[in-house]
Structure formats: structure tokens, C-alpha cells
């Protein structure tokens, strides 16, 4: 029989690092490895676009990840590619959040009334086509190069960021909306209304800070999905354009050389994607378990 806890935990217990499972620690470690490669790698790996070795040489001391068909060092390219993929993923998630959080807040605040209905219908329409087909479609018709949009010029990289963001909006908005629906039921919201605080201040100043943490956790985990989606698009030649490396377009280039025996060309950059996605997924599981355990207490 477990004693029900009435008093708050002692201070020392609260300061102790959270107890995480071995799997969660593994996830954290993999994620740190990926971040190390993406953030520190490009600084000391040398130039990702210059020819520094032989054509398609296997891994060696000078080129730990081997070289590609244009004699470029694959460690430098993979590190730079990881950095680009990470940046694109973070920017895509950020863009998605910037649109989805206000939309979700408004929908949740007016839960069940017309602003909610309108926003939900738009989100459903966004989900009618799978993200990937939508992206294929947009990039298919605007081309893989720069697109002029009035005074704005969208590079292929910007387009990938926007597409990822648009694809994520429905998910982020739903999370925000459901958190807001719960929050609006709290007494303090009614009290604020009664004393005449303007609606904008209630939503932006009071509800938002309470709703944001679960949304941010979700968004953080979706960075893994974004890395995955970016690499798939670039793999098909529709995402980040060469000579700018990304994990996906390195793999795309590698396809033609796989059967010539250049296994390192596709295996190693692929493993880097894998390290990142496994890291995010394990960490997500761990966070989910921790939240569940918290909810039970």
C-alpha cells in the first residue's frame, strides 16, 4: 500500500535530477551526439565543398567518413548537412508554432463557438492531403530554384522551412487548443473576466504562459519528425539544393554510387539521421512516461 503524499516533497528531493530510465538516458546521449556533430562538427571539419581527397575513397584516418564522387570530405559534408538539417527543422517547427499557437489559443478560448469552428475546418482542410504530397505539389509547380513572390525571394531552403511549418500547423494547433480548452475552465479565467481584464490580455498574458509548456514539449519532439521530413524531400531532389549539403541530399547523391560499392557514402549519413530520430523518439517516450507518473501522483 502506497502512502498518499500530503505534504510537498522535501527540498532536496525536488532538486535531485529526475529519475530517467536507461532508454531515456540513451536517447539523451544520442541527441547530444547529434547536436555535437551538427553544432561543433562544422567548426573543425574543414570546407564541405572543396575537393580534398580521392574519388570515392573509403573511411580512413584523414577522412573518417570517406569521400564522395566529387572528392569532397564526407565528414565535413555530413557535419555541415546535419547543421543545415537541424536549422531547417528548428525553423520549420518555429514557423509552425508561430502560426499554430495563436490559432489554437483563439480556437480553445472560443471552444465550440464560430471562431473555433472556422479554425478547425481550416485545419482539417490542411490535413486533407498528406504533408508529403502537398510539398511535392508546391515544389513541383514552383520549381526547385528561387521563387519570386512580389518583393520576396524564396530560396529552396526557405520553401522547405515554410512547407514543414505549414504541415505541422494542424498538429500544434490541436495541442494548443486542447490545452486551452482545459485552462479556460479554471476559476481564475472567470475571475479575470469579471474584473474586466480585456480578452486579449487574458489570452496572451494569462492563458498563454500556462498552455505553452506542453506545446513546447510536443514541438521539441517534432524537430525529429522535421529532420526526417526534410531529408526525405531533399533525397528526392526537391528540398535543399546542392552545393549546400543536407543529410537528405547527400543520401540522394549517394544512391547512384551504392551499387558501385561506396557503402559509406549512404550508410554513414543515414546513421546520423537515425541517431537523431532515435534520440528524439526515446526522449519523447521518457518525457511521456514522466508526465504520466506525475499525473498519477
Amino acid at each position: 500500500m502506497v502512502m498518499t503524499r500530503v505534504l510537498p516533497r522535501p527540498r532536496a528531493a525536488r532538486l535531485r535530477p529526475p529519475r530517467l530510465s536507461a532508454l531515456t538516458w540513451t536517447g539523451l546521449l544520442l541527441l547530444l551526439l547529434f547536436l555535437l556533430l551538427a553544432l561543433a562538427g562544422p567548426m573543425f571539419a574543414g570546407d564541405a565543398t572543396s575537393r580534398t581527397g580521392e574519388t570515392l575513397a573509403g573511411p580512413s584516418a584523414a577522412h573518417p567518413f570517406g569521400t564522395d564522387h566529387l572528392q569532397r570530405d564526407l565528414f565535413a559534408r555530413t557535419a555541415e548537412g546535419a547543421r543545415v538539417s537541424l536549422l531547417v527543422a528548428v525553423a520549420g517547427v518555429g514557423f509552425g508554432l508561430a502560426v499554430a499557437v495563436p490559432a489554437g489559443l483563439v480556437a480553445g478560448y472560443f471552444g465550440g463557438r464560430w471562431p473555433d469552428d472556422v479554425i478547425m475546418r481550416i485545419l482539417e482542410a490542411l490535413q486533407a492531403l498528406p504533408l508529403f504530397v502537398f510539398a511535392l505539389f508546391v515544389i513541383g509547380i514552383t520549381g526547385t530554384g528561387d521563387t519570386e513572390l512580389g518583393f520576396l525571394t524564396l530560396t529552396s531552403t526557405t520553401k522547405v522551412v515554410l512547407l514543414l511549418g505549414v504541415g505541422f500547423i494542424p498538429y500544434f494547433a490541436r495541442v494548443t487548443r486542447s490545452a486551452t480548452l482545459v485552462e479556460v475552465q479554471e476559476d481564475y479565467v472567470d475571475s479575470l473576466r469579471v474584473i474586466g481584464v480585456p480578452r486579449r490580455r487574458i489570452i496572451g498574458g494569462e492563458i498563454l504562459p500556462n498552455v505553452l509548456p506542453p506545446v513546447l514539449v510536443q514541438a521539441f519532439l517534432w524537430i525529429g519528425v522535421a529532420i526526417f521530413a526534410e531529408s526525405a524531400l531533399s533525397f528526392l531532389g526537391l528540398g535543399i539544393q546542392p552545393p549546400q549539403p543536407s543529410l537528405g541530399n547527400i543520401l540522394g547523391d549517394a544512391t547512384s554510387y551504392m551499387l558501385l560499392g561506396a557503402w559509406w557514402y549512404s550508410i554513414i549519413p543515414g546513421l546520423v539521421i537515425l541517431v537523431a530520430t532515435i534520440g528524439f523518439n526515446l526522449l519523447g517516450d521518457g518525457l511521456g512516461d514522466a508526465l504520466d507518473a506525475d499525473a498519477r501522483h
Partner: protein
């Protein structure tokens, strides 16, 4: 129930019409266009006018749109701008390939995913459970196109001749060769979804096992086998059905990638080609096919809830559910 189905089908048709209209106008608003792609560099104005006239692109856009909708209703999707063959014939050739591939992946991974999930949940916290958890996290993290590349390398370089690693043989020509050819792409296509199925089923079975009605059934003296089969599994399958429905959306993008790596002439490869060449009729038809498959799959999953859960069925019949 019938009214609900009718309303859903009408909604589906409306979404399809919106998607098609968007595709139609965005394709025409895009810079370049098929005439440029068709004629290559620096065409003479006469040649351009001739080609535009042949494709019907010299008419006002509204006329083109109305014609397009009229043709669509009569089942005529037009001819491909590049091969000049009817689009319906191209899709008729390509779609069965993608459907066979998806179906194979779907069936295999549903069985494996459900079995693994149920086994892990039943022996919770055992070695089997840990194994399923670790393997499924890794499996769902592997990008399908990278797995496909690795399979091509392994079966094309190191163990040659066991399974074909590229290309496609029609079933009518060589049934055995066709089935052998589907193994690797189907494996790569469905692995991630299989893992998600296993994880979802495991989690919802564990949650269901703690429900009061399960304790009640146990108190009533039902044996564990029946509790598992008739009560836990039956209730836990509902969230899993949702995931299986979402799987079809994953397949739509997955086939594009996997077909590219294995060089399989399915809808996925066709979509990429059609959008790249701005082959209007083919691109629109491919979008139509993809969107309908995806939307219908969602509808089927929603209807499956009726079959799976008596409570939802009752809710719809007495009007408490919307």
C-alpha cells in the same frame, strides 16, 4: 448511420473538388509551364502558339476549368502532355503496382505489429516486452528510403540472387518473380508503421487492462484467455485502428520514396515525374487518386469504429454523438 455515411461521402467529394480546383489554378499560375518544358529552349512564337492551341491552353482559363470539370465528370482525365497517352491508361498501369506494394506491406506489418504489441503487453516488463520496445523505437526511427537503400546494397552487392533489389516484373508475366520482387520494397515501406502499431497496441492494452470492467470480468470468473481476447484486445484495438488509418497517409509518401529507390513503376514515381515536367493532366489525375485513397481510408477507419465499439454505435443511433 446511413445519413452519417452519406454526409461523410458528400464532405469527401467537396474536399476533393477544392483540392482539384486548387491544383488546377496553381499549376496554371506557376511560372514556366508545360509549353516551355515541352518545347525546350527558345521556341519560335509560331511553334509556341501551335502547341498552346493543341493543348487547349489558348482558351480563357475559365473555359479550360469548366471543360476540365465536365470531362472529369464523364471520367475523361485527358491525355498526358508528354506521352500523349490517355491519363487513365497510365494510371491504370501504375496504380495496381502501388496497390500491390502497399497491400503487401500493409498486411504483413499489421500482423507483425499487432502480434508484437499484444505479446509485449501480455508479458509486461519481461524480456520480450523490453525487446519489442527497443526494436520498435529503432524501427520507427529508420527513414524508409534509407532502409530501402541499405536493402538494395545488401541484396545487390553482398548476397546476390536471393531477392531482386531493383525493378518490377508484372504479375501476369512471372507470378513468382513478381512476388519475390515485392518483398524488399514492402518490408522497407511498412517497417515504421508496423512499429507504431505495436507500440500503440501495447500502450492501449496496458491501459485497458487496468479498467474496472476488466477487474469485473476477472471477478466474474472469466478465464484470462477470454479476458484478453474478448475484452482487453477488443477495447484496445480502437486507438490502434486510428493509427492503422494514419498509416495509409504514411504509405502515400512512403511509396514515392521507396518506388524511387527500388525503381518501381508505380504511382509514386509517376507523381514525382508529372510534377517535375508540369504535365498538367497527369499531375491532376495523380493528385486526385492520392487524395481520394487517403480520404477514403480515413472514412473507412471512422466507419470501423462502429464495428469495433458498440458504445460509439449506440451513441450514433440515439443521437448523442455528432
Amino acid at each position: 448511420m446511413l445519413r452519417y455515411v452519406g454526409r461523410r461521402v458528400a464532405g469527401l467529394a467537396l474536399v476533393l473538388l477544392i483540392v482539384l480546383t486548387l491544383v488546377f489554378f496553381m499549376l496554371r499560375a506557376a511560372p514556366g509551364g508545360p509549353v516551355d518544358a515541352y518545347l525546350g529552349m527558345n521556341p519560335t512564337p509560331e511553334k509556341r502558339a501551335e502547341v498552346e492551341h493543341r493543348f487547349g491552353l489558348d482558351q480563357p482559363i475559365w473555359v479550360q476549368y469548366v471543360k476540365f470539370l465536365g470531362n472529369l465528370l464523364s471520367g475523361d482525365l485527358g491525355n498526358s502532355l508528354f506521352s500523349d497517352r490517355p491519363v487513365s491508361a497510365i494510371i491504370g498501369e501504375r496504380l495496381p503496382v502501388t496497390l500491390e506494394l502497399s497491400l503487401a506491406a500493409f498486411l504483413f506489418w499489421i500482423v507483425v505489429g499487432l502480434a508484437a504489441g499484444a505479446l509485449a503487453a501480455r508479458r509486461r516488463d519481461s524480456f520480450t516486452d523490453g525487446f519489442v520496445r527497443v526494436v520498435s523505437v529503432i524501427a520507427l526511427s529508420i527513414p524508409s528510403f534509407w532502409l530501402a537503400l541499405v536493402l538494395v546494397a545488401v541484396f545487390g552487392l553482398f548476397i546476390k540472387g536471393v531477392l531482386p533489389s531493383s525493378g518490377w516484373v508484372p504479375f501476369t508475366e512471372d507470378p513468382l518473380g513478381n512476388l519475390r520482387g515485392v518483398v524488399l520494397p514492402a518490408f522497407a515501406l511498412g517497417l515504421g508503421s508496423g512499429a507504431i502499431i505495436a507500440r500503440t497496441l501495447r500502450a492501449s492494452m496496458i491501459e485497458t487492462a487496468q479498467a474496472d470492467y476488466v477487474s469485473f470480468a476477472r471477478a466474474m470468473g472469466l478465464n484470462e484467455r477470454r479476458i484478453l481476447r474478448d475484452i482487453t484486445l477488443r477495447n484496445a484495438i480502437i486507438p490502434t485502428a486510428t493509427v492503422i488509418g494514419l498509416m495509409l497517409g504514411v504509405f502515400v509518401s512512403g511509396t514515392v520514396l521507396v518506388e524511387t529507390v527500388f525503381n518501381i513503376p508505380g504511382i509514386g514515381q509517376t507523381i514525382v515525374g508529372a510534377f517535375r515536367q508540369q504535365d498538367y493532366p497527369l499531375a491532376i489525375a495523380c493528385t486526385l487518386v492520392t487524395a481520394s485513397v487517403f480520404l477514403m481510408a480515413n472514412l473507412v477507419v471512422d466507419l470501423l469504429y462502429f464495428v469495433l465499439n458498440p458504445r460509439i454505435r449506440a451513441g450514433f443511433l440515439n443521437g448523442t454523438a455528432r
